[in-house]
């Protein structure tokens, strides 16, 4: 039913997308912005799994990578930044180095 040429195009496109997204995720150093790229990496992996005929794994990837992982990453970043701001505010005028 599936034309093998288009099939291959889909597989190659998904593989290249995943490779590009993973590279972009490594090159983005700020964790909050990296979370956006990681979300796209998750989507790319879901497509890759689907075109390789593994929809169960693709569904797991969608479930975890769409909303759950970004939420945990961003909440952690928010907590760390708030603590750092509070610590810097308390040290205002002090001599202690960070």
């Amino acid at each position: 039913m599936a034309d093998p040429a288009v099939d291959d195009v889909l597989i190659v496109a998904s593989l290249l997308f995943v490779a590009a997204a993973a590279t972009a995720a490594v090159l983005n150093r700020d964790p909050a912005r990296q979370a956006v790229v990681l979300s796209l990496l998750g989507l790319g992996l879901a497509v890759l799994f689907t075109v390789l005929q593994a929809p169960d794994v693709g569904l797991s990837q969608l479930g975890v990578g769409s909303a759950l992982t970004p939420l945990m990453i961003l909440l952690t970043v928010r907590k760390v930044r708030r603590q750092r701001e509070r610590r810097d505010g308390e040290r205002h005028g002090g001599k202690r180095r960070g």
Partner: protein, 147 residues
């Protein structure tokens, strides 16, 4: 030549690919809008793949993404575009175009699929996915503009 798979490949390369480019660079607003485009277009890709491979079970992937994709965008809009990370004000580029693009894309994908599937539970599922995509697009656009 399987038209559905070809359409899926086209949407993947021409739609989701540029979204990655925009999501990897630039201001947070632009990134979140790119992620929004990516999830909504990818949902359409899954619908096309389900028809192209002849496996209606893959529609469940599109169903889950149609609810979790907007949820993910709202997470970013809440935690990345408000608070300390928020940079310049104003609307990120591409925000206004999102709802029309989603509306056109959804109609162009869901309606032919409904015609091919014929009446029944599967068609209702497709229409529900289309409605969820539209609602998600509207809500996330509002969230991005509010942030």
């Amino acid at each position: 030549m399987n038209g559905w798979l070809a359409a899926a490949a086209l949407l993947l390369i021409a739609g989701v690919g540029p979204s990655l480019w925009n999501a990897a660079r630039g201001a947070p607003g632009r990134r979140v809008v790119a992620q929004n485009y990516a999830t909504l277009l990818l949902c359409l890709v899954f619908l096309l793949l389900a028809q192209g491979y002849g496996r209606p079970a893959y529609v469940d992937l599109a169903l889950v993404l149609s609810v979790l994709g907007p949820a993910g965008t709202l997470v970013f809009a809440r935690l990345l575009l408000t608070g300390e990370e928020a940079g310049e004000g104003g609307e990120p580029p591409g925000t206004r175009r999102l709802t029309p693009v989603v509306a056109v894309g959804t109609a162009a994908t869901v309606l032919p699929l409904c015609v091919v599937t014929g009446p029944g539970r599967a068609t209702v599922k497709l229409l529900v996915i289309g409605a969820l995509l539209l609602a998600g697009g509207v809500a996330t656009t509002r969230a991005v503009r509010h942030g």
